[in-house]
């Protein structure tokens, strides 16, 4: 099962490697991992997308909590939540493809944020499936470069991850 784990960790050097090291040492999967400081500069928030049986997810939660610098861990995918990912994709945009690419970006509510005679950079946010669908929908041979941020997420309503 796929899980989205959010955690708050002391914003200290080496904190990221403690988390990534834990996953590799214990053989847990990381589908994506993102990290950035929060409004409180002493804390970073990390979002980890992982897969595993219930037992493994339970262990991941416990092991993360055991790390001395981890302040709080929440499996946000356990209840209603929102996930977003950012995609920047550079595509070939010449001739008839140019118009078609713009149309596809519009359909998926993407924005063209850079354009040259021959290329576009399209910015798009959404959940993983949406971005996957867009990448699948355009002509593969036109893709010059893709970059994705990995998933970030937040619980719906009053559910808050805070110190």
């Amino acid at each position: 099962m796929r899980h989205v784990i959010s955690l708050l960790i002391e914003n200290e050097s080496g904190a990221l490697s403690r988390v990534s090291g834990l996953f590799s040492a214990r053989g847990y999967n990381i589908e994506s991992l993102t990290v950035a400081p929060t409004e409180d500069a002493s804390l970073s928030r990390m979002t980890i997308v992982t897969t595993g049986s219930d037992d493994i997810i339970e262990q991941i939660n416990k092991q993360l909590n055991k790390l001395v610098e981890v302040v709080k861990v929440v499996d946000i995918s356990e209840s209603a939540h929102i996930e977003r990912e950012l995609l920047l994709i550079k595509v070939r945009a010449t001739g008839k493809d140019r118009e078609e690419m713009k149309r596809m970006a519009d359909i998926f509510r993407g924005r063209i944020i850079d354009a040259t005679d021959t290329s576009y950079v399209i910015e798009m946010t959404g959940n993983q499936q949406k971005l996957d669908s867009f990448v699948a929908a355009i002509d593969r041979s036109l893709i010059l470069e893709t970059v994705r941020s990995g998933v970030v997420g937040v619980g719906r309503g009053e559910r808050v991850l805070k110190v």
Partner: protein, 569 residues
């Protein structure tokens, strides 16, 4: 008061009432050593290899309730320390390791004797720090001691660059430590404890299964009290020995790969299992699927939530300090009127006694050749069962665990989790320094002892009258045993040729060496050794090369699938 970084480090150690620092100097820690030189409150023990510094600090911690401290230099000093750190980590031993680092400006420049110590040690410490600012030294060392000793204990490393040692700042040792990210649970959940007690009182075939957590939380007395209140059988892991008196009728012996028949059978066929500070590891329960075949309810007390339901699903988890939880359990038993089901318990004890009658630890003694088990039995007799006993890793370790009957906690020091050969002698050093007047024996083998034999020199310098009991079978005994049983008798690289004359070697270091060949000389030699109260005596027992450790559960097999003796093969 304005002090240099090096002065601050030493002041911090004094504030923590550190008795001994085990270490080895080098370029990056010169300023620290200079400050150690100028005072005499914290005593430094100069080892001959950094691995032994950490092992000795670890041994010191195991037989006291104190944090062990080691000091090593950067680069190779730190890498040599890694085995010691990992050993302590696997057995949850509280240590603070201070390592020197190249100056901050040189970090990342591939400087002389530079390694990423924090990176290398990260997977085998409870936590570690690189201190880049002199103003952080005091609070970091305070945190290190707090982290090492609280919650599930473990080693904490503090890496200090050379230039930080000469920077100056105002020194004040922080009294209080609060860490928002670290708040170990100590008291167990009352509701869970009530649930546990209910299960225990309904049990028909109960077993109390205890581990190193009992020792670490100094809960031996409480465990004994609870077990006697309930009248339940008690078994222990290798790490828990001494947590319950071995001579007590309720003690069924060590369990696991080389556990007793009655302990393993009792564990497997129990209907309610109370696990206390133990973690169901592979050497203890064998194949978890086989263990799960028998239905039973499991209560698990552990301070580390991640140890609970890791290998075996647990019915009543109780996160908390073993001593506190046992206290509460005792309180609830004593304040309530309900008592265990005596009739069922009597039947269960009958069954256990029947298993006991197999006398699984019986061995055939000989008049011609020394049996290793016999040496351990005699050591137990000669020391009145009250020595601090360390061991290395292998057959001799298992014989020590099986035949030296530990009555008290913190008397048995060995590497259970990592299984590090070479720990025996440095552990004995730590134990002897912590308990200067007490007998300390290091049960070892001719292979293990050679992994830290250079420490005979340290023992001379610090006049440590350790008794080394070398069970010399000229083989890597446990490897040879597995090769005999599971690899068609192909003894690949397990025979050691060209061994030194250990008695002479000991003498070369300035100690007493005695070689013992005949069974009739075993007791006399041991008595002679312990009579020499001020000397290290190296007893080199030439033992039966073919002796195997039984009972044995083959790796990956179930607990009840024991080989009880050579006849079972």
């Amino acid at each position: 008061m304005v002090l240099t970084g090096a002065e601050i480090v030493v002041r911090c150690l004094q504030e923590e009432k550190v008795e001994y620092v085990f270490g080895y100097p080098g370029g990056a820690v010169l300023f620290l050593y200079d400050e150690l030189f100028k005072q005499d409150q914290v005593r430094h023990v100069l080892v001959r290899h950094e691995q032994a510094a950490v092992h000795a600090a670890d041994g010191y911690a195991r037989c006291t309730d104190r944090v062990g401290v080691a000091l090593v230099t950067s680069g190779p000093g730190a890498t040599n320390a890694v085995t010691g750190i990992a050993t302590a980590y696997c057995d949850s031993i509280p240590l603070v390791i201070i390592s020197g680092q190249v100056p901050t400006a040189a970090i990342g420049q591939d400087a002389f004797q530079e390694v990423d110590t924090v990176g290398i040690t990260r997977p085998c410490v409870k936590h570690n720090y690189l201190v880049k600012d002199v103003r952080d030294i005091a609070s970091t060392i305070r945190k290190a001691f707090y982290l090492a000793a609280s919650g599930r204990p473990g080693p904490v490393l503090v890496d200090i660059p050379k230039d930080v040692c000469v920077q100056k700042c105002e020194f004040e040792y922080p009294r209080e430590i609060t860490m928002r990210s670290y708040n170990p649970v100590v008291k167990g959940h009352l509701g869970q404890i009530r649930k546990a007690l209910q299960l225990l009182l309904e049990a028909e075939r109960p077993m109390i299964y205890t581990g190193g957590g009992v020792i670490l939380s100094d809960a031996a007395e409480k465990l004994t009290k609870l077990a006697r209140l309930l009248g339940f059988p008690v078994t222990s892991t290798l790490m828990g020995l001494g947590g319950y008196p071995a001579s007590d009728r309720q003690f069924v012996g060590m369990l696991g790969m080389h556990g007793t028949y009655e302990a393993n059978m009792g564990m497997h066929y129990s209907d309610v299992l109370l696990a206390v500070g133990a973690r169901f590891d592979d050497r203890v329960i064998g194949d978890p699927a086989h263990f799960g075949q028998e239905p039973r309810k499991i209560i698990h007390i552990d301070i580390d939530p991640s140890s609970i339901s890791k290998r075996v699903k647990v019915d009543v988890p109780i996160v908390g300090n073993v001593a506190d939880v046992l206290d509460e359990l005792i309180r609830q038993v004593e304040s309530g009127s309900a008592r265990p089901k005596q009739e069922a318990l009597d039947t269960w004890w009958k069954q256990i006694d029947e298993w006991r009658r197999r006398e699984c630890l019986k061995y055939k003694n000989s008049d011609e050749i020394i049996k290793p088990q016999y040496v351990v039995e005699k050591l137990w007799e000669v020391t009145g069962g009250d020595a601090f006993v360390t061991s290395d890793v292998g057959q001799h370790q298992m014989w020590a665990a099986q035949y030296y009957k530990f009555e008290k906690p913190r008397r048995w020091l060995n590497s259970g989790g990592l299984g590090t050969m070479g720990v025996g002698l440095p552990y004995a050093m730590g134990a002897q320094l912590a308990h200067p007047g007490s007998p300390v024996a290091c049960i070892t083998g001719e292979a293990s002892i050679q992994m830290c034999i250079q420490e005979l020199s340290t023992c001379k310098q610090f006049r440590l009258p350790i008794k080394i009991v070398n069970l010399n079978n000229r083989y890597l005994g446990m490897v040879r045993q597995w090769q005999e049983l599971f690899h068609g008798g192909r003894y690949s690289e397990s025979y050691m040729d060209s061994l030194p004359d250990f008695a002479k070697l000991a003498e070369a270091y300035g100690h007493v060496g005695i070689r013992v060949d005949a069974p009739s000389d075993v007791e006399g030699a041991l008595q002679e050794a312990f009579k020499r109260k001020n000397e290290l005596v190296f007893l080199d027992f030439q033992v039966d090369q073919t002796e195997n450790v039984y009972p044995m559960v083959q790796g990956g097999k179930g607990l009840t699938e024991m080989i009880l003796s050579a006849e079972d093969l």
